[in-house]
């Protein structure tokens, strides 16, 4: 059975290394500041005992005031998982750091989020639309699209 690590415990470990990274913890997830996303992700991937070597999925949700990005991380070695969230504000050109350098599996998913949600990922090797064609107007999964 995959253990879901308590967000509080994970947040404590993150805070010891990056004091300002954690904004809050909920019952299900750790919410972190998007500036620290790459650092925290690398920390979670490499710290012995955590070793989140597998990125299950990334997705984004549009809450009008902000976009929430959801990173479900899994460790195949320890069979545990944690939900990492971050927020980005603004509808013009929201940007968060890309995690492709850590997990190649993020490549297509980040492009998909860019395509459908309009969030850019800084440091992505190929930040282009993926399912819609170049020149398509708008980002359909946004709540104000239609």
């Amino acid at each position: 059975m995959t253990t879901t690590l308590s967000p509080g415990d994970v947040a404590k470990q993150i805070s010891q290394r990056y004091a300002d990274a954690v904004i809050e913890t909920t019952d299900t997830a750790v919410l972190i500041n998007s500036q620290f996303l790459l650092d925290v992700a690398a920390f979670l991937k490499d710290t012995p005992g955590l070793e989140f070597d597998y990125l299950t999925h990334i997705t984004a949700v549009d809450y009008f005031e902000y976009f929430e990005l959801i990173y479900q991380l899994t460790s195949i070695k320890h069979n545990h998982t944690v939900l990492l969230k971050t927020r980005c504000y603004g509808r013009e050109n929201p940007t968060v750091p890309s995690v492709v350098s850590l997990w190649q599996g993020a490549n297509h998913q980040e492009r998909e989020i860019y395509d459908l949600m309009g969030i850019s990922f800084e440091g992505h090797p190929n930040m282009k639309r993926i399912v819609l064609w170049d020149g398509f107007q708008g980002h359909p999964l946004r709540k104000d699209y239609l």
């Binding site: 059975m1 069979n79 190649q104 490549n107 399912v131």
Partner: protein, 367 residues
């Protein structure tokens, strides 16, 4: 004097017999050797995630059929699990067993198509494929008995399944269970030691273990690379913890290993179905669920081991009758990240085999 050469860009697809639907690859070739590959998606994009936001929770089920359209039952299964987790709905025992039987039958059917089309690419053009289509037909007949449909079943519901299986289903299933092992032996005689298959698939398109994990691969692609990771064992859902079965894995991570994993998984699926048929209780197949489901505000992620890999549904509810957000974690999309690793440095005919061994369905990649 040395001849001046330059790389050549070849557009493979979107309409090509080995692209399993409408998939395009832009291959950069140096002579016959692939030096770069760029996948191009989107020819089958229907905006299912957006459409789901405008439908009721039950109304999304037919959309999920159209994800991986050769394994609709599994897609239904993943989705209803997510809604049940979100709305905290329980499922009657009999329905759990029916679901497991259907999902495992679907795995066999999907692997048959996967192996069959893989053989096409290897050069055994359509002979093995039609053998496998013959057995898939028997599974489709079983599905038709239960759901009335032959491709897009729309059979599972939140809180159970749409209707109980008819009386003749279990005897027919038992007959199938009796026949199927001898059919699998037939494929083994035909293919396992087949010189052409060995020559073309062994050692080709190797995906190392670490890379497989790093690219979020799942399903036979991950297990073929030697990672013992199967959601049915790693994170048991439904009633999978009640059955005995093994997780077959490969050792090298080449195309042949992935083919072997699929064959062995079919045998394991038969084992699960045999146990389920013995244990299945009688009773209701659907719990009392309101027509319009309004889950409490929150989020839920449920995942299953679909034939192609980890299929997950991430749902966000705002306490209305439609999902606020329905994200589908499509295994094929992640598995396609492996293309570069598996293709670059190989000749173009090997690249086709490497691609075929992933066994993707475009309906799921593009959504």
């Amino acid at each position: 004097m040395a001849l001046k050469t330059e790389p050549f860009v070849l557009n493979l697809g979107p309409l090509h017999p080995s692209t399993h639907g409408v998939f395009r690859m832009r291959l950069t070739l140096d002579g016959e050797v692939v030096i770069n590959v760029e996948p191009v998606f989107g020819y089958l994009h229907r905006g299912i995630e957006k459409l789901a936001e405008q439908r009721t929770y039950t109304g999304v089920i037919p959309l999920t059929d159209r994800l991986d359209y050769v394994s609709s039952m599994s897609n239904n299964f993943g989705y209803v699990l997510a809604v049940e987790k979100l709305a905290r709905i329980s499922v009657p025992e009999r329905a759990e067993y029916i679901r497991v039987i259907m999902a495992e039958l679907q795995r066999i059917a999907s692997h048959l198509v996967g192996i069959g089309s893989f053989c096409n690419e290897v050069g055994a053009y359509f002979t093995p494929f039609l053998y496998m289509w013959r057995e898939r037909e028997k599974i489709v007949d079983l599905f038709e008995m239960a759901s009335g449909q032959r491709l897009l079943y729309n059979y599972m519901r939140v809180g159970g399944v749409s209707q109980d299986v008819p009386e003749e289903f279990i005897p027919a299933l038992r007959r199938f269970l009796k026949q199927m092992p001898s059919y699998i032996n037939e494929y083994e005689r035909l293919l396992k030691e087949n010189e052409i298959l060995l020559a073309r698939a062994k050692g080709v398109g190797i995906l190392p273990k670490e890379v497989a994990i790093n690219i979020s691969a799942s399903g036979p692609l991950l297990r073929g690379s030697g990672v013992k990771w199967d959601i049915r064992k790693a994170d048991p859902y439904s009633i999978y913890d009640r059955f005995e079965f093994d997780i077959p894995t490969g050792s090298v991570g080449d195309c042949y290993d992935r083919y072997r994993v699929r064959v062995e998984e079919m045998k394991q699926s038969l084992r699960i179905i045999e146990q389920a048929v013995e244990q299945i209780p009688s009773g209701a197949v659907r719990s009392d669920v309101p027509h319009l489901i309004r889950p409490p505000v929150g989020e839920a992620y449920a995942r299953i081991e679909a034939p192609t890999g980890e299929l997950g549904f991430y749902l966000v509810s705002d306490n209305s009758i439609a999902p606020y957000r329905c994200h589908i974690r499509a295994p094929s999309l992640m598995n396609l990240t492996a293309l570069r690793e598996m293709m670059v440095g190989w000749k173009i005919q090997d690249a086709i085999i490497a691609f075929g061994s992933i066994n993707i369905t475009m309906g799921e990649v593009d959504r």
